[in-house]
Symmetry: C3
Subunit: 351 residues, 3 copies
C-alpha cells in the first residue's frame, strides 16, 4: 500500500474566519472539493462540493437557511450532508447524501478534519491563541502557492533564506553567521537562532524604533502535518532579552497554517500577531503590506523550485547542508506520521 | 474490444448551412480533424483535415475550384479526397489520398457520416423539417460546450432543471410538481410533461401575449446518437390544447443536434422554430437572445459538472431520482447501439 | 535500449553572441535546464540551472564575479560548476556541484556540448564563417518554434514549400518546376536546385536591383544533428553564374542552427549573411524584417503540423513525394547517428 502524501487524520485550516460567510465558498482541500459556509447560528460548515445526483458542485447552488440547494435539479442537503428533499418526489432515495467534515472555528481560523470523523478531537487543534488573545493585535491572510506543501514547510523552518530572498526587508547577512539549534520533542520540532548585538534588518528596525544594536531571536516550532508558529523578536542588545524573558523587546508571532490544495499546490493561512502598539491601525496596514511582499517573494521561488523538481530526472538527489537540520527533522516526523496512518489503513482494510 | 464512446455509423451535424462556404472551415468531429467547404455547385463537402504527405491541416491551404491545395507543398485533392496533383512530378504516388465523408445538406444543417460510407443512407437523417418548412420561422446557432456530449443529452431530456437553472426566463416552480411520462418506441425515447392551468413563465407569457392562465406542454424526443427535438408550447388554459391538438396555442420546436467534438467537448447545433408570428424579425432577434442566454446558463453548469466528474475518485457512483427516467432510458438506447456497433467491428476484424 | 530523440555528443548553439551577457539567461536545451552567462574575462559559460541543494534554478540568483550565488540559500558555484561556499558552514559537503557544459564562442554563436565532455572537440563545430568573415555583412536572431526540431530541418531542406508558404516574398511558381539534385557525402547531405533564365521573386529582385531575367541557385547543406546552411543567390541570366563561379550575382548565406528545446519545441538560431552592399544598414533592417516575416510564416505551419502529427492515430503513415529526397536522406543520416550513439551508451552501460 503506497504511502499517501497527505496526513488525513489531522486538523487543517480551510478558511480564515472572515472568509466563511452566508455565501458558498468552493475550495479544494487535500485534493477534495469542499464548499464552506456559515449556518444561521453562525457556525461554519464544510460539505463535499459535489451533488450525489449528477455531480454538479453544490457551490454553484444556493444557501436557503441551513439547507444547500443544488443549482441543477434542486436537491437539498442539510449541514450534516443528508439529502432532505428531491424536487418532484416524496421520498429521498437511499444513499442520497454528501460527505460532511467535522468543523471547528478556533483562533479566528476555520479548521476541518478530512479523516475519520470519530477521531476528530478538537483538543488536537494546535494552540494558536496569539491570534485572538487579549493584549495582542493580529493581521492575517491567505496565500495560494503552486508547490508541494512540504516545500513551504521547509522554507519556514530554515530562515537562512531571508538573507538571499528578502534582501530589502527582513534579510540580514548576520543570520547565516549564527548557528541554529534544532530540538525534537515528540512530534514537535523546534529550531532556535539567536543573533546578539547587531544592527537589525529594516523590518525590525521599523518595529522597535530604536537606533541601538539589538539582540534578535527566531524560535520556530513545527507540528505535523504543516503547522508552524514563529516566535520572532528583537530587543535592544543586552537590555533583557535572554531566552525565556523577552518582555522588553518587540515580539511577534507569525502563524503559518499550511493546507495542501493538491499534490502540487497549497494554501498558506498566515497571521502576524504582536504584543506592542496593538491599537496602531497604521502599523497593521504597513505590516500587512510588508508580510504580503515577503511571502510573495517566497512564492515566486517556491513555484520555481516546484517546477524544477518536477522537471528533474528520476532518481535525482538533493544535497543537504547544515542549515537543513530542522527541515530534515520535520520531514522525518511527517514521514513517520504518514507511515503510521498508511499502516493503520492497511490493518482496517484487512479486518 | 472496448466499447467506443462514439457511435460511428450515424449522421452527425457538422455545420449550420450558413457556416459552409467557399472558405475552408476546420472542425474536430468525433475527435477527427475535418475541413468543411462548399463545392462550386454549392454542395457541401467534408474531407479529412490532414494532408497525407506531411500532415499539415488542409484547412491551412486554399480552395481552387473544387480542388483543395495544401498550404505547405501544394499537393491538390479533389472533393472525393483523391490527390490529383503533386507539384514537381508527373505521377501521383499510390495511396496519396485523404478521407472524404458522406455529406448531405438537409433542413438547413450539414450532416456527415463518420462511419462506414456504404451504410450512409440519407433516409436515416432524422426529420427536422420544422427548420425549413412553410409556415414556420426559425433561428439557429452553434454552441461549443466543454463536456461529454451525453451530459448535454441528459440536460435536455430532464427539464426539471429549468426551475433551478433558468430562474429568470423559462424556469417555473410548477414544473417540478408535474410528473413526466417516459415512453420508449424502438430507439426513440419520449418524455412528456403537461402543466395545466398555471401562470406561464416569462418566456412563454411573452410568446402568447395573453394574460390568462395557460396549459403548457413539453414533449421531448430523443434519437441516438444525440438528436433531440422538443415540442414546446402553451395555450390559454382549457381553450384547446389537449394532446394531439395544439393548434390554438403557441408552438415552438427546439431542435438540438449534438455532435461530439472530443470525449470531453461537444457542439450543440440548435434551432428554434415556431409556427406563429413567423414574419416578426424583432421576435427572431429577441428569441435568439433569450435562447442564447438560456443555453449559456446550461453551458456554465455542464462545464462545471464535467470538471466535477473528471475529478471524482474512481468508482464513484451517482444517485438516480425519479426525474431521471428519460435520461436513463436514453442512455440505455445509446449504450445498446454502441455495444451493437462494437460487436459488429469485432466480427469484421475476425473475418 | 530505446533510441534517444537527441544526439548528445554534438555541438549545439544555445545562444546568439549578443544574448550571452553579465546577466543570467535561463534556457532549456535538449530538455535540460541551463543558465548562460559571461565570465568576467568575457568567455561564455553554461551551467545546469538547478542548485544541487534544493533545486531552485540558479538563474533566479545572482552573478558575483565569476561565481553564481543561488537565490534561495546562497550556495555559490564557480564556472566549472563546483560549489565553493555554503553560507553558515566552513566545509562544502561532498558531491555539491552542478553540471557544467563545454562551451565555445565561434562565428558569433555560443555553442555548448550536452554529451560526454571528453569528446567535446571544438574542431567539430561546423564552419559558419560567413557570419563573421571580412567582406560579409550579417544579421541574426533566434526564433522559438513549438515543433519537433526535425520538422524544421525538413522545412529548410525542401524549398518547394516557398511557392505555397511564402507567396508574397520568396515564393515563385518556377521553383516547383525545377528538379532538385540530392547528394550525400559522409554525414553531409546537399540539395541543389538551379532555375535558369526566369523573373526572380520579389525578395531577389529587390536584392539584385536589375530588371533582367536571372539564374537562381539554392544549395542547401545539412549536417547532423540539425545544422543547415543555404547558399542562395541570383545573377543576371547567362552573365556568369554557373556552378562554382557565382561572383557576378548577389549571394547570401542563410545559416540555420537548430537546437531542440524539448521533444516538441526547438530554437532556430538563424543568420543571413551577404557579400554585397555590406555597409548598407537600411538593407540590414529590410532584410531582417523580410526574414523574420518568412520564418514566422513557416512557424505557423510547423506548429500546425506538429499538432496534427500529435493528433494522428497510432500507426498513421505519411506519403513521400519526389521533392522529399533531401529530407529523407537527412533523416537517414540523423537516425544512423542516433543509433550509433545509443549503441555506444549500451556498450558503456555493459562495461
Amino acid at each position: 500500500m503506497a504511502t499517501d502524501k497527505f496526513l488525513r487524520n489531522a486538523w487543517y485550516v480551510c478558511a480564515l474566519d472572515a472568509e466563511a460567510k452566508r455565501e458558498l465558498l468552493p475550495r479544494t482541500i487535500l485534493a477534495e472539493p469542499v464548499v464552506i459556509f456559515r449556518r444561521e447560528d453562525g457556525a461554519p460548515a464544510v460539505l463535499e462540493d459535489r451533488c450525489c445526483h449528477r455531480h454538479l458542485p453544490l457551490s454553484k447552488g444556493r444557501l436557503i437557511g441551513d439547507v444547500l440547494q443544488c443549482g441543477y435539479h434542486g436537491l437539498e442537503f442539510d449541514a450534516s450532508g443528508a439529502c432532505v428533499r428531491v424536487p418532484g418526489q416524496a421520498r429521498v432515495p437511499p444513499g442520497a447524501q454528501v460527505r460532511s467534515y467535522p468543523t471547528v472555528e478556533r483562533h479566528r481560523f476555520v479548521w476541518m478534519w478530512p479523516g475519520d470523523p470519530a477521531k476528530a478531537d478538537p483538543d488536537l487543534i494546535p494552540d494558536m491563541h496569539w491570534n485572538d488573545a487579549p493584549g495582542w493585535a493580529s493581521i492575517s491572510a491567505i496565500l495560494r502557492i503552486e508547490c508541494d506543501y512540504r516545500l513551504l514547510v521547509d522554507n519556514l523552518l530554515d530562515l537562512t533564506h531571508e538573507t538571499y530572498v528578502h534582501v530589502g526587508t527582513i534579510g540580514h547577512e548576520a543570520i547565516v553567521h549564527h548557528p541554529i539549534k534544532t530540538a525534537r520533542d515528540g512530534d514537535t520540532v523546534t529550531v532556535t537562532r539567536w543573533i546578539y548585538d547587531h544592527q537589525p534588518a529594516p523590518f525590525w528596525r521599523a518595529a522597535i524604533q530604536r537606533p541601538e544594536n539589538c539582540d534578535r531571536w527566531q524560535v520556530i516550532r513545527y507540528r505535523p502535518p504543516a503547522n508552524i508558529d514563529l516566535d520572532l523578536g528583537v530587543a535592544v542588545a543586552g537590555t533583557g532579552a535572554p531566552e525565556g524573558n523577552r518582555s522588553q523587546g518587540v515580539n511577534g508571532r507569525n502563524l503559518d497554517l499550511i493546507t495542501p490544495e493538491t499534490e502540487r499546490s497549497c494554501f498558506q493561512f498566515w497571521a502576524f500577531a504582536r504584543n506592542f502598539r496593538i491599537d496602531d491601525r497604521d502599523l497593521d496596514q504597513r505590516l500587512h503590506e510588508t508580510v504580503v511582499k515577503i511571502f510573495n517573494e517566497d512564492k515566486v521561488l517556491l513555484e520555481a523550485q516546484q517546477r524544477s523538481l518536477e522537471a528533474a530526472p528520476a532518481g535525482f538527489q538533493w544535497i543537504d547542508v547544515t542549515a537543513d537540520a530542522g527541515t530534515i527533522q520535520a520531514r522525518r516526523v511527517l514521514d513517520a506520521a504518514l507511515a503510521r496512518e498508511t499502516a493503520e489503513r492497511g490493518r482496517q482494510a484487512a479486518e
